[in-house]
């Protein structure tokens, strides 16, 4: 596969390490609340098994060490978009 890195252009997927769903960005912040256990359980373990466009995290380990959010169709391997994970994280309201 070829991943079109937003900073470095098209790179072979061999240069990357795959982690999993981009939902891993959404780490709960309510560690002190009563729902924390349930929320962290949902965050870490519960995933949709998507037949179609899946947003997933890839790490450019043999490159610039960017974490990327890659939107890939699980049926065709077509890659629809590639974003820097830190941009996605910020857009989802995460900061410090």
């Amino acid at each position: 596969m070829i991943i079109n890195h937003p900073l470095l252009g098209p790179r072979d997927s061999e240069e990357f390490v795959y982690l999993g769903s981009a939902d891993l960005i959404n780490r709960p912040t309510n560690w002190e609340s009563e729902e924390a256990a349930e929320d962290f359980y949902q965050y870490l373990y519960i995933r949709e098994n998507i037949a179609g466009d899946n947003r997933e995290l890839w790490y450019h380990e043999q490159g610039d060490q960017s974490w990327l959010v890659v939107t890939r169709c699980t049926l065709t391997h077509e890659i629809k978009s590639v974003e820097l994970a830190q941009d996605v994280s910020r857009a989802q309201g995460r900061s410090k």
């Binding site: 596969m1 070829i2 072979d12 390490v17 982690l19 891993l24 960005i25 780490r27 709960p28 912040t29 560690w31 002190e32 924390a36 256990a37 962290f40 359980y41 870490l44 995290l57 790490y59 380990e61 060490q65 960017s66 974490w67 065709t76 391997h77 077509e78 890659i79 820097l84 994970a85 830190q86 994280s89 910020r90 995460r94 900061s95 410090k96």
Partner: protein, 987 residues
């Protein structure tokens, strides 16, 4: 009797003779021959024995689809089994041997299996060798493997070199026949970067085998001119003898280039190159493969594909027989009869299964329409054929054509399903081809040559235009239009005789029928039950024929029957080509520590730790056993001072105003307020609460930290930290970089370690206990101004330091330290002594951090902060993670102190059971994870996990090692054997 079947002409050089051997007999061929064509020129029809029944078999095809003529080529370590003679280019000194027979090829002792054939039908092995179960492994399987089979491996390491390469282009054209050349010409004229690949060592495809004229010249000559023209263009890369074996995602293609010629001349050159081709668009012009017809005894040597007979005749100037007959269900078969007659070879009969008028007149041949071949005779080579009209015809070659199948394999590598075409009686690629691929010519079902050329020509232009290149205004080549008509003919009723479908795996029409009768309806099930199409040729000549037979058996359409799935590789690929240069020591990079050279000078014994080479121990004169050295290294370090290279630990440099907060969220313990000049031990969890790694982090200045990780987890921890920063807290002011290889770091441990270091640390840096206490850290200089980092941390449990210098000083530093340490009897110690001391001290390491343990299990529950969020906090609080009956880490010592002293091994790996229990899975209480002989205590000690261990100290259990036959009583104790109060550390 040299080359008795050779005639004049052909595309070979009959002035250049080449000598080779077949089963030890010296034979001659010509430059340009394949091994198969040279064998046929020498009238060698019998070239092998079949897989299961040891039937005599001959050359069937002239291409990579060959099922029968597979041979062992070369000798010794160079021997390569299962090589297709039909694509092996002949060279001087080639040694070929037929395979799968005992005794001479002409009289195979195993041919007796042929008489047992009624018992060896589909599923025979499954049904027969069921009982007794134990016999399968010991008796049946070895016997079957011995009698059935392919060539034998040399069992020696492959001495050849293989390489990998990468190529990039705009348009990849696969196949350099008439269509592919036409497509490549227009694509190249547009200015696009073009790669043209063909599996044959001579480009031109079927043009080299046929008599068609193109643009008024011989087709082969037109092809040669086209190749010359392409070769002269800068934007074209020609790859002959290169098989595109797989279509992968996003325009990536796998290709194997054969460079055997070059490698034979220079053994340092690769024999094959595994190319990865990156292309924007691909035009598949892979042509078509002829299939057979299943009739009685259709596997005798001398029965060949009609197109192969033409290839041998026209390209290689070999007449495979003197009295040839042709059996066909389509117009193309007739061309074989015509070409033979034109070259003066006698054709005795043309048999056509169709009820039509003869396609052409063939001089001197009997013509039989609406007629089939029902049986043949001749053991080592065909002698006669029997027809459905009762006639018997003596013949020495039978050319068979059952129609043509497009080579659509690559169109299906992304799960494309080919669709049936009733008119052409074959499968065609449907629209679900891989993204970026288009198909032209016979591969697409365009069977008429003149149409295929136009299609290739146009496709080259269309694809180039799609990519934004200007289209070529050249005209497509012209040739006479020759019609292709075909009527389905799969099997002929063969009575008691067997009709072969898959030659290589010995599958007959009867086997398929039996499978169908036994309820195997799916083509995928029939394939696996009968092994149809599962040999090295992957059923290139057999599969469509088998599907036709299945459809007939089950009285359904071929569409309903369906096809099996095509997967890469298109042709077999040597494992060596996938490995490339990554063999032996080149399998992955080798990492040497900065003391490596010095350690070699000390005769150190090395151990591989991941990619690293580390010194395991340093034998001294007189030490004959590894423990002599290790025990001495431990004792001398604890008594005076020892030095160990710990460069392999991961080192991560962190800078930024938020680093302390960042670390606070990574480690279970508080890191927000580590003072400048201090180091702190930290434990990191995964988000699920399981221990991930431990290490120390020092604060060198307000906003500058340096972290160490374990050797094994260096990469994972860094990746995890990047994830936490970029994905979870992108605005924390944190910058990090791995500096594992930038710093050489040595542990200097033992009561004299400070005295030793004081000799090399520059005087302005006070490292006394008061100025540089336990867990101190700082940037200093040594040896008159060389920058260094000093950490007062201890893995051994002694007063100890770790000193780091830029890697380029690493070799000098070990020499300087050893010289300065002479007065203290300083010694180097290796990973064994390091391990022994950490077990004595009770530090968890790799065997304890096994991915199942929580902070509480490790006895570090007290370290875990409840006042902050950190990775693993919430899920680590789960009830199951904190239960008292979990496997908890404790120490173990034998009740009998002399236990195992004579055994030559430690307690490591032993499982723990209660005193009176029988050791089994149900009574299992835990295990010993690390164990060594402690030279300090004089007996074995161990760390390990036992259920509820923290509250069981003082209890006696048994450590049972069923593998090594040991069963000893051990006492559960604190893991901190040596200096449990940590007094040594603080002096």
């Amino acid at each position: 009797m040299s080359q008795i079947n050779r005639i004049d002409g052909g595309l070979i050089d009959q002035t250049k003779s080449v000598s080779f051997t077949f089963n030890g007999q010296i034979l001659r061929g010509y430059e340009g021959d394949t091994l198969a064509s040279a064998l046929l020129a020498n009238n060698k029809h019998l070239v092998g024995r079949s897989f299961k029944y040891h039937r005599p078999r001959g050359i069937v095809t002239a291409g990579s689809e060959e099922p029968n003529a597979i041979m062992e080529i070369g000798r010794g370590a160079y021997k390569e089994p299962n090589t297709r003679a039909t694509i092996t280019q002949l060279y001087n000194g080639l040694e070929a041997n037929s395979q799968n027979h005992r005794g001479p090829l002409g009289f195979d002792f195993m041919a007796i299996t042929d008489f047992f054939s009624p018992f060896l039908s589909a599923g025979f092995y499954y049904k027969t060798f069921m009982w007794p179960k134990a016999f399968w492994e010991k008796v049946y399987e070895p016997a079957i493997r011995h009698s059935a089979g392919l060539g034998k491996l040399s069992m020696l390491e492959d001495p050849d070199t293989y390489d990998k390469g990468f190529r990039y282009c705009d348009i990849l054209v696969i196949g350099a026949g008439a269509t592919g050349l036409s497509a490549a010409l227009t694509a190249a004229e547009s200015g696009a970067r073009v790669i043209l690949a063909d599996e044959d060592f001579v480009m031109g495809g079927r043009l080299n085998s046929e008599t068609n004229e193109i643009n008024g010249i011989a087709g082969s000559e037109w092809a040669k001119q086209a190749v010359t023209k392409l070769a002269a263009m800068d934007n074209v890369t020609l790859m002959a003898d290169t098989t595109i074996f797989g279509a992968y995602d996003h325009g990536i293609y796998g290709a194997i280039e054969n460079r055997a010629d070059e490698a034979r001349a220079d053994s340092s050159k690769p024999r094959q190159v595994n190319w990865r081709i990156y292309t924007k668009r691909t035009i598949l012009c892979a042509g078509a493969t002829e299939r057979a017809i299943a009739f009685g005894n259709n596997d005798r040597p001398g029965i060949m594909m009609a197109s192969a007979v033409r290839t041998y005749l026209n390209r290689f100037a070999v007449a495979t027989g003197q009295r040839v007959s042709v059996y066909t269900n389509n117009d193309d078969g007739w061309q074989t009869a015509k070409d033979l007659t034109d070259k003066g070879v006698k054709v005795v009969a043309v048999i056509d299964s169709r009820s039509i008028d003869p396609v052409m007149s063939i001089e001197g041949a009997e013509i039989f329409m609406s007629t089939d071949v029902t049986d043949t005779k001749g053991r080592r080579v065909i002698k006669s054929i029997m027809l459905s009209n009762g006639k018997t015809i003596p013949t020495d070659t039978l050319a068979v054509s059952g129609g043509w199948n497009p080579n659509l394999h690559l169109t299906c590598h992304h799960r494309g399903i080919p669709k049936w075409n009733e008119e052409l009686v074959t499968f065609l690629p449907d629209s679900s081809v891989p993204v970026g691929m288009s198909v032209a010519g016979r591969a697409k079902g365009t069977m008429v040559l003149s149409d295929a050329i136009v299609e290739g020509h146009n496709e080259g232009n269309v694809v180039a235009a799609d990519l934004g290149f200007k289209t070529s205004d050249s005209k497509p080549a012209t040739t006479a239009s020759v019609a292709y008509n075909v009527t389905a003919k799969w099997g002929v009723p063969s009575g008691k005789n067997r009709a072969w479908v898959d030659y290589q795996n010995d599958v007959t029409a009867k086997d398929i029928k039996l499978a169908n009768q036994e309820g195997f309806k799916s083509v995928e099930h029939v394939k696996r039950y009968t092994t149809l199409g599962m040999a090295t040729d992957q059923g290139k000549t057999a599969n469509v024929l088998a599907i036709g037979i299945m459809a007939d058996n089950m009285d359904q359409t071929i569409e309903e029957t369906g096809t099996t799935i095509f997967r890469p590789p298109y042709n077999p690929v040597a494992m060596g080509a996938f490995a490339g240069r990554r063999r032996g020591m080149e399998f992955y990079p080798t990492r040497y520590t900065p003391t490596h050279k010095w350690s070699e000078e000390q005769n150190a014994i090395f151990v591989e730790v991941g990619m690293w080479y580390r010194s395991q121990w340093f034998p001294q004169p007189g030490e004959t056993f590894w423990r002599d050295s290790v025990d001495r290294e431990v004792r001398q370090t604890r008594e005076s001072v020892g030095i160990c290279d710990v460069t392999t630990l991961g080192k991560i440099d962190l800078k930024g105003t938020d680093v302390s907060e960042f670390l606070n969220r990574l480690y279970v313990n508080a890191f927000a307020k580590v003072p400048v000049g201090k180091t702190r031990y930290g434990l990191m969890l995964r988000e699920d609460g399981i221990a991930m790694d431990d290490g120390t982090t020092a604060r060198l200045s307000e906003n500058h930290f340096v972290m160490t990780t374990t050797t094994a987890n260096a990469v994972n921890v860094y990746r995890h930290m990047q994830f936490c920063h970029q994905c979870l807290w992108p605005d924390l002011d944190v910058h990090m970089i791995s500096v594992t290889e930038q710093y050489a770091q040595y542990a200097v441990a033992g009561p004299n370690s400070r005295k030793l270091l004081q000799k090399i640390v520059d005087p302005e840096h006070d490292i006394s206990n008061e100025a540089f206490p336990y867990m101190g850290a700082g940037e200093i200089s040594i040896c008159d101004g060389i920058p260094a980092r000093l950490f007062r941390i201890s893995f051994s449990g002694e007063l100890a330091f770790e000193i780091a210098v830029p890697t380029r000083y690493g070799d000098s530093l070990i020499r300087v330290l050893m010289e300065a340490g002479e007065e203290f009897n300083a010694i180097p110690y290796g990973t064994e002594a390091l391990g022994a001391m950490r077990i004595e001290k009770g530090h968890a390491a790799g065997p304890e951090l096994n991915g199942q343990t929580s902070a509480y299990d490790l006895g570090m529950g007290g370290m875990v902060s409840g006042k902050k969020d950190f990775i693993g906090y919430t899920l680590g609080l789960r009830e199951g993670m904190q239960r008292d009956d979990r496997m908890q880490m404790v120490g173990f010592k034998p009740v009998n102190k002399s236990a195992l002293l004579d055994a030559g091994h430690s307690m490591a790996g032993a499982h723990l059971v209660n005193l009176r229990d029988k050791p089994d899975t149900f009574t299992d209480q835990g295990w010993i994870s690390s164990s060594i002989y402690s030279p300090i205590f004089g007996h074995y000690i161990g760390l390990g996990y036992i259920k509820g261990g923290h509250s069981r100290k003082g209890e006696t259990v048994r450590a049972v090692d069923l593998v090594r036959g040991q069963d000893i009583e051990v006492e559960i104790c604190s893991p901190h054997f040596y200096d449990p109060q940590g007094e040594c550390l603080r002096v």
